[in-house]
Amino acid sequence: MEGNKRRIVSTLCILLAVSLLSVTASFGAESITVLGGSVKSDSGGNQGIPTIELPMPVSEQGKSYLGLSGTGNFKIGQIKSQVLIIEIYSLYCPHCQRAASRVNELLRLIQERPDIKEKIKIIGIGVNNSMYEVESYRERYKVPFPLFPDLTMEVSQKFNVRGTPTFIGLKVNGKGMLEKFYFAEGGFQDAQQFLMEIIQLSGLK
């Protein structure tokens, strides 16, 4: 009898595991191991990362930097760049405030290099921040790259962000799809060193 019970339990466990696997497969989920965690893709849009939609930058300068046009929302996969660095930050986070000048410096270093200038772009996402709060931060730190509000935390939750600042690196892979290659909580101390790390880990040529 005990043997039979064990067999029944084992069969149920296998059936449960198989059904869970098929549910996962039906959503087209693909888990990608990244530094500091993993993230699941969804079936549409960018394979390997969640579908993230952001409001189109208001300024022409912001649109031009990201290679976008029009109004409404855009998907981050539409950004014209081989590598995208996303800083998840907040107006209310002192460590983000301390890091602000270094992130600006990172953009300057990228812009100074013609070989990577068009290949690496940076955006900031203000977690739990409104548009007003995002603009206050931009004004305070003269942030030269586009910033977007994430008042409902939808974006940061999709990336499983737990703290700020968090830096996420995405790259366009060989199949023309976005893939996450970097995820780190906390800031960086040296912009040049961070840039070298991004270039190396993304395999950018």
């Binding site: 907040s90 007003y132 737990r162």
Partner: protein, 200 residues
């Protein structure tokens, strides 16, 4: 991990999330959980004369509300307690928004019911070496919560509400926001209140 503001996500009823973003070192922030949004009985209304008070400041000396009468609009930010999630991520935002206060000829007074040594350690940890807190932080510790009580923002557990008041130069209360203690007020709401108060 030390250089990290920790986002404390408390999922409430599925889709709704409360976000408390604390500044500083993770291990130092006490997780308070989700609290009753407000827990006090209002004593003031718009148009009332703001009760005067004198409280000790972290930087030394004492500050009275009346010293700003006719000189500055005053924003009072009561926060519940030092070393708690949302509070630790509220004043750092005001600290880099000095322009907003200057624009409306306003001073900010931060008040909690903590004692001075606690507030000293907490505010030192939350400010940047390059950007010290520009506004006075006052201790309403003894008699415990006396000012919070007069302003109708002392909760039953003995801490203050997360409340913002704007008092125009003539000493009149122009704005009261006794906010959900679990959430941070939006900066634009305070900006609008300051705009309105500065017209008086």
């Amino acid at each position: 991990m030390g250089m990290l503001c920790i986002a404390v996500l408390v999922i409430m009823g599925g889709a709704d999330a409360v976000y408390g973003q604390s500044s500083g070192f993770t291990a130092y922030i006490y997780p308070v959980g989700n609290l009753k949004p407000t827990d006090s009985i209002p004593t003031l209304k718009i148009g009332d004369i703001a009760p005067d008070f004198t409280l000790p400041a972290v930087e030394g000396g004492k500050i009275s509300l009346s010293q700003y009468r006719g000189k500055k609009n005053v924003v009072i930010s009561f926060v519940p307690a030092a070393w708690t999630p949302v509070c630790s991520g509220q004043w750092p935002g005001y600290n880099i928004s000095k322009n907003l206060f200057d624009k409306h000829d306003a001073i900010l007074l931060g008040i909690t019911v903590d004692n001075i040594p606690t507030l000293y350690a907490w505010t030192k940890q939350m400010s940047n070496p390059d950007e010290k807190l520009w506004f006075p932080v006052l201790s309403d510790f003894y008699p415990h919560g006396a000012v919070a009580s007069r302003y109708g923002v002392l909760r039953s557990e003995g801490v203050a509400e997360r409340a913002l008041l704007v008092i125009s130069k003539d000493g009149i209360v122009r704005y009261i926001d006794v906010h959900d203690i679990n959430r941070r007020p939006l900066l634009e709401d305070l900006a609008r209140a300051l705009e309105e108060a500065s017209n008086h």
